[in-house]
Structures are given as C-alpha cells and as structure tokens.
C-alpha cells in the first residue's frame, strides 16, 4: 500500500503533464468568497507593457485559481444533481439600492385600538349563505348574503312610502366609501405631519342637534366672502363652532390695569397644581388590573423557561449591529 501511495505522489509532483492547482504567491491574493472576487497585484510593469494580454490572463488565472481553491473547500450539498455551495457573507461594504424601510405609522384607529387593547379577530373567509344553503365567500364576487342583488326591499314602517329604497341603499354605500377615503387621506396627512384644513361635515347615520348647528355654521361661511354678508335669522345665537377672533388691548392705555393683569397671571402660575383627569386615570387603572389578571392566568409565551437560563448566561449583553462601530469597520475594506 505504502509503495503505491508514494508512486502516486511522485507522479503528481514530478510529471509536468498533470497541471496542479497550487499558485505562486498565493498569499498576495486577497479573496472575498461572498462576492466571488479575488484581487491580485501586478508585479512587473515592464513585462506588463510588453505583452499586456498574456500578463493579464496570467494574473486573472492565478487569482481565479486561488478563489476556486477556497470555494471548493466550502461544504457542498447536492440538490437535483447540482453541487451547491453556500457563500459566506460579503466582506466588502456595498451601498444599498433603497434606504432601509421605515415602520409604517399607525392609523388613528390602530393607535386607539392599541391604547384600548383591542385585538384583531380573524374572520373566516367563507360564510353560510341562507338563501342558497351553501358556504360562500364573505366578500366579493358571488358573496354570501348579498344585499345588492335583492330584487325586492320591504319598505320600513316609518319610512316615506314613495322613497326609492334601492337608491337610498346605493347612496348610503357611496357615502361610506367616501368617508373611508377621507379617513385614509387624513391618516396619510397625519403620518406625514401635514396640517390639513377641516372638511366641515361628514355624513352620519343619525344626525344630532349638534350636527345640525354645525351644519348651519358651515353653511353660513360657505360663500365667496366667507360669510361676511350672510344675513342672520331674527333670534339666532352666535354659533359655538366658529372660532373666536383674538382681541388685543391697546398698546398705550391704563398702566394700573396692565400691572394687575400681569400679577394675576404670575399668581396663577405659582399656584398651579396638576389637575387629574379622572376618567383617564380610572381607565388606566382598570386596564392595568386586567393585564395583571391575564398574566396570572397564563405565563407569557414569549420567554419560555428554557430560554431564560441561556439569556441570563449571555449576561443580557446587547448585540451590536452593523455600522457605527469603528473596530469592525477597520476589518472591512472599502
């Protein structure tokens, strides 16, 4: 056996017919396996000028050989007849194409739900349709309990008998859609911190007295001259929905009065005691109680007992992420 091995070795080393994979000056060649990149150096400039092409090819060949030597050392897996290697992470820092995505800002409802602890309930996609006795999608084409496909609508007892119930339904739907769109736009404006003017009135199902007086105030101002020439009704009270105009004291006037005012202001500020919003405080207390109860009922799933030990062993040290750190930056080349 031993003699055979030596013979093979001698053939491999001595015979020039079998080319080898070793490269001269391999230590000078840098490789970045993640990028499939290798960097060589040009040694002899004089030779390079004389026969550029051959030198270029030789340099590239050596660098590629070194790269292949290290790539073939990586663990190989076979998938459908192909030999796959998993490339290590790229050493070089390359810029991104687009910035790191930011978290989407919460909508007003989402924020409210979060504060209240309201969770989304998953609804099933298929719903039982009583008319056909089958399960049908909750929404969309061929949906269950479709009220747009009804050919007959019963007139409600207290409704106007000559009112078109179909048209009523359609306008109600259109208004709901418009309201939704408005809220969507408002949420976008909120997310971008843009101030948008009020839109006056949005349609509601059951308008209240407040709603009516608000509508009156809006109608009052909806002229080209912003309500300057709108006539008032005989016994009309000033609207509580219009903003107040600021009024200033005359700049030259009673000095005593001014002094009094300033002193009063100072006194108020000195006495100021933080007021307690009772409803807010009680709500918070209630929520806290509820939370503690639920935690008692079941231990939280996020940190199972097995992991706790490991985390403690790590010492709770914060793992550093890429960027920023000068020490790691030094290892990576630009």
């Amino acid at each position: 056996m031993a003699s055979k091995q030596t013979v093979v070795d001698s053939i491999l080393t001595t015979s020039p017919s079998i080319p080898s994979t070793t490269v001269e000056n391999a230590a000078l060649i840098d490789i970045d396996e993640g990028l499939l990149m290798s960097s060589n150096v040009v040694h002899d400039l004089k030779e390079f000028r004389q026969n550029t092409e051959t030198v270029l090819k030789r340099i590239s060949r050596d660098a590629t050989q070194v790269l292949f030597n290290s790539l073939w050392q990586l663990p190989v897996e076979q998938v459908e007849g192909n030999y796959l290697i998993t490339l290590p992470e790229i050493k070089m820092w390359l810029p991104r194409e687009k910035p790191v995505p930011k978290k989407k800002p919460l909508t007003k409802w989402q924020e409210y739900a979060k504060g209240k602890g309201i969770l989304n309930k998953k609804k099933s996609r298929m719903v039982y349709d009583e008319a056909s006795g089958e399960y049908k999608p909750r929404w969309g084409y061929k949906r269950a309990n479709d009220d747009t496909k009804q050919w007959l609508i019963e007139v409600p007892a207290n409704a106007d008998p000559f009112e078109d119930q179909f048209a009523k339904r359609q306008t109600a739907k259109k208004e709901r859609v418009a309201k939704n769109e408005l809220h969507r736009l408002r949420n976008i404006a909120r997310a971008q911190k843009v101030k948008v003017p009020g839109v006056g009135l949005t349609p509601t199902e059951n308008p209240s007295k407040d709603h009516l007086s608000k509508a009156l105030a809006v109608a009052h101002k909806s002229t080209a001259s912003i309500g300057k020439f709108t006539e008032k009704l005989p016994k009309e009270k000033p609207s509580k929905f219009t903003g107040k105009k600021r009024k200033f004291e005359p700049s030259i006037g009673n000095l005593m009065k001014e002094k009094e005012k300033q002193l009063q202001m100072l006194e108020i500020n000195a006495k100021k005691i933080p007021t307690i919003d009772v409803t807010k405080a009680t709500n918070r207390a209630l929520r806290e109680e509820e939370r503690s109860k639920t935690q008692e009922r079941r231990p939280s799933k996020k940190t199972p007992k097995k992991l706790r030990g490991k985390k403690a062993a790590l010492g709770g040290e914060k793992v550093r992420k890429g960027g920023g750190n000068k020490k790691t930056r030094g290892k990576r080349r630009l």
Binding site: L12, I18, P19, S20, T21, L35, L36, M37, S38, S39, N40, V41, V42, L45, F48, T52, L56, K57, I59, S60, R61, A63, T64, Q65, L67, F68, N69, L71, W72, V76, E77, Q78, V79, E80, N82, Y83, L84, I85, T86, L87, M92, W93, L94, P95, R96, E97, K98, P99, V100, P101, R184, L185, I188, A191, Q192, K321, G322, G323, R333, L334
Partner: protein
C-alpha cells in the same frame, strides 16, 4: 414614500410593492441608455454589456439628448422608470470621443458616477469560440495597486464591483462558475477582460483553472468623476436589522434532496368524469334528468348487494 393615489388593480399594487424599499434587497437592475450622438463602438459596448448582465438589465434603444454630468435629473427619471439603480450611459462627441458613464443610484438619486473613455474595444463577436451562458454570476478579479491608492480610486473599485457582480445569490452551483470578469488598473488605464473558465483535471478534487478569451475586452481611461459625499455614502451603507424570513408553506424536501409540494384539492366527482366520447353513449338532452336518477338508483342497489353478500 406613501402614495396618495391607491393602485386600482392587484397587479398594479404588486408592481408598486416590488419597487418599495425592502429589508433584504433584490438584485440591482442596470439601465443601458444612449446620449444624443453615439459611435459604433459605444453602442456595441452598451449592447454587449447588456447581453452579459441579462436578465438584470434594461436597454433603452432610443437616443436621449442628456449629459449626466451636467444634469442628473434625466438619469434619475429614466432609472426610476426602469426600476434600476445602476446605469451605463454611452455618448460620443468631438470633445469626449467614445464616452461611457457608469454610475449607481441610492434612493432614486445619483450616488456615484464615473466617466470613461473607450481607448480600445474588442467585441464579443470578433473573438471566435464558445461563450458562457447568459445570466451566470461572474467571478471577479480586481488587480493593480491603482485601486488602493486613494479614497477616490477605492470608491471607483467599489462602484465597478457593484456594477459587475451580478445576482446576489446565497447559494451557487459549482458547475455554474464559468465566467470571469477581470479588471486591472495600471497607471490610470483600466483593462477589462472577459474570460471563460475551462476546468481541467488536476488529480485532486479541485479543478485546474484555465482561462479563454471570450470578449468583450475594453481599455478604459478615467475622465470625469462625481462621487457621493462620505456622509451620503455612509447613509447608503446602513444595514437593516434582519427580520425573520417568512416560512414558505407547503414546500418541503425529502432526504434525497427532491422538492415536494403539497396541493389541496377538493374531492373528485367521478360521476362527472369525462371518459372516452362515444356516439352511442350520447345522452339525449331532454331525458338527461331521468337517466341521472336511474344511474343513482342502480349504484345504490349495487351497494346494498355488496353489503348483503358480505354479511
């Protein structure tokens, strides 16, 4: 960016989603486009690099009278249309003959841009011999101390690597390593060569590498540069906190490495199965309902018979 106008179709929505910033980014696309005047050499260079960079490349074939170094807005517009963040622009003028601009963008704005003059060009078609397959991830060789001389040259090297590196793949096939792009810089001149890899037997598991010219070959000289400020470049380098990858449902692999997919189907109705069509078996449309009933009855009877015999 949050859009105000909602996409009207699912397809439109998906197309916009594709363009949005992602945590794990897609391969950078490259846009190839021409200036107002181009020489034969420049168009050929654009065409052949487009060929090598496929399928992550788009070619605009019409002329565009723009000068990227004077006004970047048109570059930003074109690249946003093609959703690409790398570009190669070719033009030809008396002052700058055979001009090529290679650049990249970050967040829709030009980050780095370098202008090259093509001193020598050998086409892919001039060199006889087999070529490597298209869409293959190339190996890169960067040689010469020129690239390490100063920060500007380092950045140029970074740009060229970004431009040539191909798809960002995690796993590659060893058989697929058959293309080498060699970039050598000696005293201001940049020599770009494309080689095909020949894997020879070496007596070991690792093959002996031999290279064969494939083309295109370019000798470039650097003209103007416009590199991003360190501040902006640093911002572009920021890495995202990796999110947990979404688990792919219903796809699994067995021990032999075969890919298995699970599909959910409703139970098949054998009554409606279409067997061979024969004229004699054709039903008459009027009596079809009665016959169905008959068929059902007969099947029921059979079942009863079987049960009887078993008991």
């Amino acid at each position: 960016m949050q859009r105000i106008v909602k996409p009207k179709t699912q397809q439109g929505r998906r197309a916009l989603e594709k363009k949005e910033p992602k945590i794990i980014e897609n391969t950078k696309n490259t846009l190839f486009f021409k200036g107002g005047n181009t020489s034969n050499i420049v168009t050929q260079v654009l065409k052949e690099w487009h060929l090598l960079k496929k399928p992550y490349a788009t070619m605009f074939s019409k002329k565009n009278t723009t000068r990227p170094f004077e006004d970047q807005s048109s570059v930003e517009f074109f690249t946003s249309k093609a959703d690409s963040s790398l570009f190669m622009f070719g033009s030809h003028s008396k002052k700058r003959p055979n001009n090529i601009v290679i650049g990249r963008l970050f967040d829709g704005q030009v980050l780095d841009m370098v202008e090259f003059g093509v001193d020598k060009f050998i086409s892919l078609h001039e060199i006889v011999g087999p070529k490597s397959a298209t869409g293959i991830k190339p190996c890169l060789v960067f040689s010469g101390e020129f690239f390490e001389e100063n920060d500007e040259n380092k950045r140029i090297k970074n740009l060229l690597i970004d431009f040539f590196r191909g798809a960002n793949a995690e796993k590659i096939s060893l058989n697929g390593l058959e293309h080498v792009i060699s970039v050598t810089a000696v005293s201001g001149q940049i020599y770009i060569r494309n080689y095909r890899v020949l894997k020879k037997k070496s007596g070991t598991r690792i093959p002996r590498v031999e290279l064969e010219d494939m083309g295109p070959s370019l000798n470039l000289s650097i003209r103007r540069t416009r590199l991003a400020s360190d501040d902006l470049f640093k911002r572009a380098l920021k890495k995202a906190e990796l999110a947990k990858a979404k688990k792919k449902k219903n796809i699994s692999r067995d021990d032999l490495g075969n890919k298995l997919g699970r599909i959910h189907m409703s139970t098949q109705n054998f009554g409606k199965l279409q067997a061979r069509k024969l004229k004699g078996l054709k039903r008459k449309p009027t009596k079809s309902a009665d016959k169905d009933d008959l068929a059902e009855n007969s099947s029921k009877k059979q079942k009863v018979d079987e049960e009887m015999s078993e008991s």
